[in-house]
Amino acid sequence: MPGIAMQGVVHRYGDEVNTDVILPGRYLALRRPEELRVHCLEGLDPGFVDRVRPGDILAVGRNFGCGSSREHAVVALRAAGVGAIVAVSAARIFYRNAINLGLPVLVCPEAALALRAGEPATIDLEHATIHQGGATWQAQPLGAEVRAILAAGGLVPRVRALLAA
C-alpha cells in the first residue's frame, strides 16, 4: 500500500464540509489538477491553499464531503497537497472518490476530534492507526475492496490490471 506511514501537519475543519465549499460549482468546467488546486476549499477557507504543505492531514467532523458527487473536490484536495483525511464520518460518494484517486480517508471520531491543528501527526495505513504526540487512535479498518484499490494505487491502475488480465 502506498505511503504506509504518512506524516503531515494537521488542519482542522468542522462538520458538514460539503463538496460545494471544497470546490465551488462555478469552477466545474475545469478539470486539470493545477487549475483546480488554487480553488481548493475556497468556499470555506480561501487561505488554505497557501498554508497547506504536501502530505498534510485534514482532521474533519461529521459527513465530510457531503453533497455533490463532483470528483473535482478530491482532485483539488490532492493537488493542494492533502495526504490523508481523518474524519468523524465521510459521505459515501466522497469517500469512494477519494479512495479511487488514492487519497486515504480514515474514519475515527476520537482522532478527528482530538488531533491538534498545526502539529504533525502520523498515519499508519497498514494498521489504520493515527498517532500524534504519544497518543494513538485506531480507525475503522479499511474494507477489502478499499485496501485493494489503495494497494493498486487507485481504481484506474486496478481496472487497468483487471482489463489486461
Binding site: E16, D20, G25, A29, R70, I93, R96, V156
Partner: protein, 427 residues
C-alpha cells in the same frame, strides 16, 4: 432469516451471484449508466487511462450536457465537446444537449429508461431521483463511472433500509418537496447514511409521480445511498407513457428488516422552507414570513416538472413579480418546456415578469444563468442551500416548493402561499 427490502431485491436481481443483503458487499450490473458534461469529461479521461477500448454497452449509456449548457464560456464548451465526441466515437445514441434534452434525471425518466425494478448508476449525486419509479438510482464520482463504462459493473455495500411510511393526503400548497424536507429535518443531513430510504404506505397513492421525483431527488440530502418508492398504478401508468420496460413493481417482504421506521401523516404537513446553509434546517413557511428575497429560482432536477410549472403559473397568473426581485424559471426538459408553452404556462410566467430559460442545471449549482452576488438572498426549488451554493460565499439560499417560491416572487418576501391577496382581475 428475515425477508427482503425493495432495495435488497432490486440489487439482488442485478448482482453477480444473485444475492444482496444489507451490510454485505455486492457487485452490481446496472441497467443504465448516466453521465453529464461535468462528471463525464473526467470519467472519459479515466476510461482512457484504464486502457478500456470500448464501453460495455453503448445502448445502455446516456450522456447529457446539462450543467454548463448552453455553454457559458470556452472551458464549458470544451467539456461539452468532449462529451459529444465520446458519444460519437463509441456509437452512443443517447447523447442530449439543449434543444433535444434537459436535466439528466428528469430526462432519463422521460426517455423511458427507468422503470419498476431498474437500476441506474449515475455520475451525479441526484441519480437517486430514479427512486420515484420503483427503481434504484445510485450516485458515484467520475472514476467509479469510468470503471462502470469499462466493465458494466461496480462493487458496493448493500445499504440498510429505512422505511418511511406515508399516510393521509397533502393539503393545499403541500407537495413532495415538503415531504422530503420534513424527512431531512427529522433525521438530519446524514440520518440515512449507509441506507436506502424506502417510501411506502397508503399515502403514496396521493403523491403524483412528479411529487415522488421531488421526494426521491433529495434522499441524498439525508445522506442516503439511494431510495425507492413502492410501485403502484401511477408508476405503472408513467412507465407505460414513457415506454419504460413493463415489469411488475418490486415490493418488500412483510418481514423485511429495517434499520429504522419513520411515519409521516401527509395531511398534517405544512409547506416547509429549509434555511441556509442546510437542507436539514426546515421550518414551516410561516416562521419565515417577511424574509426578503432578491431572486426566486424555479427549476432543477428536483422541481422543474410540468407540475411545478403549473403551480408557479397558477400563483403568478394575474399577479406581478415584486419590484426589485428577479424570477428565473427553468423547465427541466425540452419536452416539459414545450408542454408548458402549449398550456400557456410560459406566457403566464413571462407576463408576470419571469425570465424563462431553456432547460439547464444553470444556477442551481452556482454555474451560470442567475448566480448570486455577495449579500443576496434567493428562494429556490432546488436541492442544496450550502454556503455559496448559488454564487458568492456571502449569498444565501432558502429551499421551498414551487408554490412557496412563486408566492415569494410576488410578495418580495417569504409568505405562506395562501396568504397572497386575490389578483385584481379574478376579484
Amino acid at each position: 432469516m428475515t425477508g427482503l427490502t425493495i432495495t435488497e431485491k432490486i440489487l439482488a436481481a442485478h448482482a453477480e451471484g444473485g444475492s444482496a443483503r444489507a451490510g454485505g458487499i455486492a457487485t452490481i450490473r446496472p441497467d443504465v449508466v448516466l453521465l453529464n458534461d461535468v462528471s463525464g469529461p473526467l470519467a472519459f479521461e479515466q476510461f482512457e487511462a484504464m486502457g478500456a477500448a470500448r464501453p460495455f454497452d453503448p445502448a445502455r449509456i446516456v450522456l447529457v450536457a446539462d450543467h454548463f449548457a448552453p455553454a457559458p464560456n470556452v472551458a464549458a464548451a470544451g467539456a461539452i465537446r468532449m462529451t459529444r465526441e465520446f458519444a460519437a466515437r463509441h456509437g452512443i445514441a443517447h447523447y442530449y444537449e439543449p434543444g433535444s434534452g434537459g436535466i439528466e434525471h428528469t430526462l432519463l425518466a422521460e426517455l423511458g429508461m427507468v422503470g419498476h425494478g431498474g437500476i441506474v448508476f449515475g455520475a451525479d449525486s441526484h441519480t437517486c431521483t430514479a427512486g420515484a419509479f420503483n427503481a434504484l438510482g445510485i450516485g458515484f464520482g467520475s472514476t467509479d463511472l469510468a470503471a462502470a463504462l469499462a466493465t458494466g459493473r461496480l462493487w458496493l455495500r448493500v445499504p440498510d433500509s429505512i422505511r418511511v411510511a406515508l399516510t393521509g393526503a397533502p393539503g393545499p400548497y403541500v407537495t413532495g418537496k415538503d415531504v422530503i424536507l420534513e424527512v431531512i429535518r427529522r433525521i438530519g443531513s446524514d440520518g440515512a447514511a449507509d441506507a436506502s430510504l424506502e417510501f411506502g404506505g397508503p399515502g403514496v397513492a396521493s403523491l403524483p409521480v412528479d411529487a415522488r421525483m421531488a421526494v426521491a431527488n433529495m434522499a441524498v440530502e439525508a445522506g442516503a445511498d439511494t431510495c425507492v418508492f413502492e410501485g403502484d398504478a401511477l408508476s405503472a401508468a408513467r412507465a407505460a407513457e414513457t415506454g419504460a420496460p413493463a415489469a411488475p413493481p418490486v415490493a418488500a417482504d412483510p418481514d423485511a428488516a429495517y434499520r429504522a421506521r419513520i411515519a409521516i401523516d401527509l395531511g398534517a404537513l405544512e409547506p416547509i422552507v429549509a434555511r441556509p446553509p442546510s437542507p436539514a434546517a426546515g421550518v414551516p413557511v410561516g416562521a419565515l414570513r417577511g424574509q426578503r428575497v432578491d431572486q426566486v429560482y424555479i427549476g432543477n432536477c428536483a422541481n422543474g416538472t410540468i407540475t411545478d410549472l403549473r403551480q408557479a403559473a397558477e400563483m403568478l397568473r394575474g399577479r406581478r413579480v415584486a419590484p426589485g426581485v428577479r424570477l428565473v424559471v427553468v423547465p427541466a426538459t425540452q419536452r416539459i418546456w414545450r408542454q408548458a408553452l402549449a398550456e400557456g404556462l410560459l406566457d403566464a410566467l413571462a407576463a408576470a415578469g419571469a425570465a424563462v430559460s431553456t432547460p439547464t442545471c444553470g444556477a442551481c449549482f452556482g454555474g451560470h444563468m442567475g448566480i448570486l452576488a455577495a449579500g443576496e438572498t434567493a428562494i429556490a426549488t432546488t436541492n442544496r442551500n450550502y454556503r455559496g451554493r448559488m454564487g458568492d460565499p456571502d449569498s444565501q439560499v432558502f429551499l421551498a416548493n414551487a408554490w412557496v417560491a412563486a408566492a415569494a416572487a410576488v410578495a418580495g418576501e417569504i409568505v405562506p402561499p395562501g396568504s397572497l391577496p386575490v389578483p385584481a382581475e379574478a376579484a
